[in-house]
């Protein structure tokens, strides 16, 4: 199934909770070493609140059966749209081992109230991915069983992959050069 077909089916089932289907960003011609990897995928934007429902459906329904969460990434988009505090986006790359199709889902929250429901109960792989996104970007996943830092030290201040991250002057007496 292509992203567009999946989007239409989801739209019929969930209505306005599925916001848009982005066109594959950028002109990506089928060349280069990565050619075999399927063409650039469109991203489906969904509302954070609808995540658990939509994700469970995507995983369990036989026509989709997205059993594999390939990647979960957080991205910081400060000031989008301009003048606002900025947004954090979580990107889910899903793959179905039996149907061999892929999809990209995105959900966005403003930095003020950055709570996104967890999907770690749907794909256990999300457990560590979400901890990483929390650690490096400060995205809080609601309902995660153990949302603690994973790569940075427990007492680290701030989230380094934020675009407005301030480098610390020192850490336990070790100066930052």
């Amino acid at each position: 199934m292509t992203s567009q077909e999946i989007f239409e089916q989801l739209k019929r089932k969930f209505g306005d909770k599925i916001l848009t289907c982005e066109e594959p960003a950028g002109p990506v011609p089928p060349c280069g070493s990565g050619a075999g990897n399927s063409p650039a995928l469109a991203g489906l934007k969904i509302e954070p609140a609808a995540l658990p429902e939509v994700m469970s459906f995507l995983k369990d329904s036989p026509e989709f059966y997205f059993d594999s969460l390939m990647c979960l990434s957080g991205v910081d988009y400060p000031g989008l749209p301009a003048g606002e505090a900025g947004h954090l986006t979580v990107v889910y790359h899903l793959f179905s081992t039996s149907h061999n199709h892929k999809i990209v889902l995105k959900t966005t929250v403003s930095k003020g109230a950055h709570f996104i429901p967890t999907v770690s109960h749907i794909w256990p792989a999300a457990d560590w991915f979400e901890r990483e996104a929390y650690d490096l970007l400060g995205i809080k996943f609601e309902g995660h069983p153990n949302l603690t830092r994973i790569l940075m030290p427990d007492d680290w201040a701030g989230h380094p992959l934020r675009k407005d991250y301030q480098y610390p002057k020192e850490y336990h007496g070790v100066p930052h050069s």
């Binding site: 594959p24 011609p29 280069g32 075999g36 991205v75 061999n100 380094p160």
Partner: protein
């Protein structure tokens, strides 16, 4: 028995690592044990965190290439390959055919070298010293080939966008063929020495059985997934570069000496994969065309705004790069989905209920490497 009743027993918490020979780097496993039996495992990672994803945002695209060497340093060529191909896809760069062949030859030789280290350390974990020496003996020859090609023996920095840094040196093809002839009989030697050794089988069979369902749910990929009987290999299922031109099989675990997906299957899949990689190298050496080794790509370039997610078959599983470009000279965001990261996360399921000594074998059989977990 009666006087034993009054003795209080309680679970004990042991830190395995961060410095422990079986952790292949700096990894801490906090294990709760009931005598010799492990009841709970909490991996603690991040000791080698260097902030590679943050560094990527501050560098130009090409400048990040040497950092990919330091992801999985036992398979630097494969990491270079994955990063180069991801950026090429984003920027729409064509790669000359000769370059693709050189890339595949290097990546497959590096896969063999990486699995040879695995062979050596697997033996070591079971208390056998000899396989380590055998594995490193052959690995040296591969490193000689790499040194001849790019001057480096560990961190190669050999791939460029559009091809590779320089053409194959004079005499490389002959030397590589010589290596193939030398290496082929060695696989049998490993099997005689270690794989079918009764003591080793008793040690490895039936422990740490990873079912395909658990593996997929936890994002486990590569040989660890294939050991469970899943015939899934990106080189075959979503062929990139010129992999579709080669004839090779995907070895999967069959539970020959124990259960499908046990530690021995994970070990054996890798031994068999070396044979398949060798087959690819032989074909590539025969088929390599003449021509350019690198397309003309300016050193500083701006890919169009957009994003791409590509995954590649590394020796340890799917290495994925999620690359977001805002049209500037630097990546806007580079998320590295390292295979060992997900492969390690399953250890709390796999190791629960085993003996401490088996846990060491299970961690070893997952063939994790810490620098790519911690990034």
């Amino acid at each position: 028995m009666n006087e034993m009743r009054g003795i209080e027993t309680e679970e004990m918490i042991i830190n395995m690592g961060p410095q422990h020979p079986s952790t292949h780097g700096v990894l801490k496993l906090v294990i709760k044990t009931d005598g010799e039996v492990v009841s709970e495992i909490t991996p603690v990672i991040g000791f080698l965190h260097r902030g590679l994803e943050k560094i990527a945002e501050r560098l130009k695209y090409q400048q990040f290439m040497p950092y990919t060497d330091r992801l999985d340093y036992l398979a630097s060529m494969n990491c270079n390959f994955a990063y180069a191909a991801t950026v090429e896809k984003l920027a729409g760069i064509q790669v000359p055919e000769r370059a693709e062949y050189i890339r595949v030859i290097m990546a497959e030789l590096n896969r063999i070298a990486s699995h040879l280290v695995f062979l050596g350390t697997s033996g070591l974990e079971a208390g056998a010293w000899t396989p380590l020496l055998y594995g490193f003996r052959e690995r040296e020859k591969i490193l000689d080939l790499f040194e001849m090609t790019c001057g480096q023996r560990l961190t190669y920095n050999y791939y460029r966008f559009g091809g590779v840094a320089q053409d194959l040196p004079a005499g490389f093809i002959e030397k590589a063929k010589e290596f193939c002839d030398y290496f082929e009989p060695k696989l049998k030697e490993y099997n005689d020495l270690l794989s079918y050794n009764r003591i080793f089988i008793n040690r490895m069979a039936h422990i740490g059985v990873l079912t395909p369902e658990t593996a997929i749910a936890y994002g486990v990929t590569g040989p660890n997934l294939r050991a469970g009987g899943v015939k899934w290999d990106i080189r075959k299922n979503e062929p990139y570069s010129v992999y579709q031109k080669f004839d090779f099989d995907i070895p999967v675990g069959r539970g020959e000496v124990g259960e499908t997906g046990d530690a021995w299957d994970r070990y054996m899949v890798r031994i068999r994969e070396m044979g398949q990689s060798l087959k690819i190298v032989r074909q590539a050496l025969e088929m390599i065309p003449a021509g350019e080794y690198c397309a003309k790509v300016p050193r500083m370039f701006k890919p169009p705004a957009g994003e791409v997610y590509c995954r590649f078959e590394n020796p340890r599983g799917d290495l994925g790069f999620y690359l977001v470009s805002d049209g500037s000279q630097n990546p806007y965001r580079l998320k590295i989905r390292a295979p060992s990261f997900s492969n390690l996360s399953v250890i709390s399921v796999l190791g629960a209920g085993t003996m401490i000594s088996d846990l060491i074998m299970i961690v070893g059989s997952l063939d994790i490497i810490l620098p790519e977990i911690d990034r």
